[in-house]
């Protein structure tokens, strides 16, 4: 229910010092309404800077950030309400937990919004469900949880604000495969249930392929590619040149095709390959 448009944004760290570093250069990108957009790029390609621009934590040196067509920097007093609408989960968010109980910590955002106790409580439960935080954990101290549980609690803390745009910087970094899958599918459920747009920053081409409708590829602070995952992964040579590559399974399918096993070239998941192979084998049996 909200669209964010970045128009020619640029940002430089430490301007005017010997440590000056360009993070983002003249970048234009639209985060489409209701879609899950993946942002992928190398370390230092400007991903984290970009997401901090989306909710006004960083003010671009040049360019505009438009939320539903309105410049978020037009009125600084409204910035706080922008942050409620664009929920940002930062990298390693488990280190931001602070309150006595998980419940109180998840309720921090809704409290800041000035919601009533009942409303807050309902949102905490809803967010805990999406993020996969078991209700039995809600009354524990966040410092007693395991790493993965902490991560979920932190994600729930942002979901509880019920943002129109949910932005997550490396939400699955450092988790085991099961943890990755459950947190990412929770995010997708949130998007489907609320109609929210989602932005996921990741290193993992596999995750991008499995969860994202749109993919933006960043390189050297600029937008190198943007499109549907079919469009992006079809450009595998260019991706290689940037040093990113395509999902491993897409590579395997491609190599198989070049060896004369016609799998088709729009395969991005293990399941996809399995189905295509099954079809081929059945075709041969006949």
């Amino acid at each position: 229910m909200a669209e964010i448009r970045l128009e020619g944004v640029s940002y430089t760290y430490g301007r005017g010092t010997p440590f000056e570093a360009h993070a983002v250069k003249d970048l234009t990108l639209t985060i489409e309404e209701g879609k899950i957009t993946g942002i992928i790029g190398h370390t230092g390609s400007g991903k984290s800077t970009l997401v901090e621009m989306l909710n006004g934590l960083i003010k671009p040196d040049f360019g505009r950030v438009l939320l539903d067509g309105e410049d978020i920097w037009a009125d600084k007093k409204k910035l706080r309400s922008v942050r409620f609408r664009v929920g940002l989960v930062m990298q390693y968010p488990e280190y931001q937990l602070f309150d006595e109980t998980v419940r109180a910590d998840i309720a921090f955002g809704p409290h800041n919004m000035g919601l009533s106790e009942e409303e807050t409580d309902e949102r905490v439960r809803e967010a805990a469900r999406f993020a996969g935080v078991g209700f039995e954990l809600l009354d524990k101290s966040p410092f007693e949880l395991s790493g993965g549980q902490k991560r979920r609690a932190a994600v729930a803390g942002v979901m509880a604000m019920r943002p129109d745009v949910l932005v997550l910087d490396e939400p699955a970094a450092g988790l085991d495969p099961k943890g990755r899958a459950s947190i990412l599918s929770g995010i997708r459920e949130y998007s489907e249930a609320t109609g929210a747009s989602v932005v996921i920053v990741s290193h993992s081409m596999e995750d991008m392929a499995a969860y994202c409708d749109r993919i933006a590829v960043l390189a050297d602070g600029g937008l190198a590619m943007y499109g549907t995952r079919e469009e992006i992964f079809a450009r595998r040579d260019e991706l290689r040149a940037i040093g990113l590559g395509v999902p491993l399974i897409t590579d395997i399918a491609y190599e198989l095709s070049s060896l004369g096993v016609p799998l088709g070239d729009d395969i991005y998941t293990v399941r996809g390959v399995a189905e295509a192979l099954a079809k081929l084998i059945k075709g041969r049996e006949r």
Partner: protein, 274 residues
């Protein structure tokens, strides 16, 4: 937050950067002694010329030094005003209502301001801008090492200092991150009264303390894993060595300092009589 410049080391490869930190520490102590010993205008003029030459030698833009003077501007103004108003002695130069300004007050004010400026320039020139925090603590440890004979835990102190210096930027970065994370959840650090502002900092302070303890713990384990057990018998990768440059620098520096003091003794030209 990114503007916090603690330990304003300004990387470079000039003679001043390459000097042994011990030499720089000794030079700084001598420099400070000189600026507080001499009081003739001629000496200060000579000192200014030498200092300027050293500033150029450090190859750090002069604007950086100028910026470094900003923090002491207030102190200079403050002491100048106090000196002007409170010191009596010598001819009365000016009198209006309760304000009486005497000759000695003016002399004192100028002298203190000049000394403060030199102090600031000198510490920047010899230490803060040209010496990385690590080599600074190494130098300190080496200079203070005779004290360990008196059972002063010199190595431990310098290790603590090294670790503290090493983690200041990390903690600043982390503060920045946690603040941003809480801002993203609508935390408001800049409005409300004193109490509500202090309360608003809790969601930042708690995660910071927790992570500082976690880091300390991890660091301790990492150090033990590499068999750290204090300074005894420990060798270094970067051994401090007084090379020829250092010796030449010290000799030249000693000559210059002597010259400044001698000028003060024999040519008390425009000396501020106290």
């Amino acid at each position: 937050m990114h503007d916090i410049a603690l330990g304003q080391y300004f990387p470079g490869d000039s003679v001043m950067h390459r000097l042994d930190p011990r030499v720089k520490l000794v030079a700084l102590i001598a420099f400070i002694t000189v600026i507080f010993v001499v009081n003739s205008a001629a000496s200060f003029l000579l000192l200014a010329v030498f200092t300027f030459a050293l500033l150029l030698l450090s190859r750090i833009p002069l604007s950086v030094y100028a910026r470094g003077m900003k923090p002491i501007l207030f102190i200079i103004i403050f002491t100048t005003v106090i000196n002007l108003l409170m010191t009596t002695g010598g001819r009365q130069l000016f009198s209006f209502g309760f304000i009486h300004i005497y000759e000695k007050g003016v002399i004192n004010a100028v002298l203190v301001s000049v000394r403060l400026c030199f102090l600031m320039l000198g510490s920047g020139l010899f230490l803060t801008y040209t010496t990385s925090p690590l080599s600074l603590t190494d130098g300190l440890e080496s200079l203070l090492s005779p004290l360990s004979k008196l059972r002063v835990p010199v190595h431990e102190f310098s290790m603590m200092m090294t670790i503290a210096l090493r983690f200041i930027p990390t903690l600043v970065e982390e503060t920045d991150k946690v603040m941003n994370a809480q801002k993203a959840r609508g935390a408001d650090f800049s409005s409300g009264g004193l109490i509500s502002r202090a309360k608003a900092l809790l969601p930042v302070m708690i995660p910071l303390f927790v992570s500082a303890f976690r880091r300390a713990d991890e660091l301790a384990v990492a150090m033990e894993c590499r068999c750290y057990r204090g300074g005894e018998g420990r060798t270094r990768m970067k051994v401090l060595r007084c090379g020829r440059v250092d010796v030449v620098f010290l000799a030249v520096f000693a000559l210059l300092a002597a010259a400044v003091v001698l000028v003060n003794v024999f040519f008390p030209l425009f000396a501020f009589k106290l």
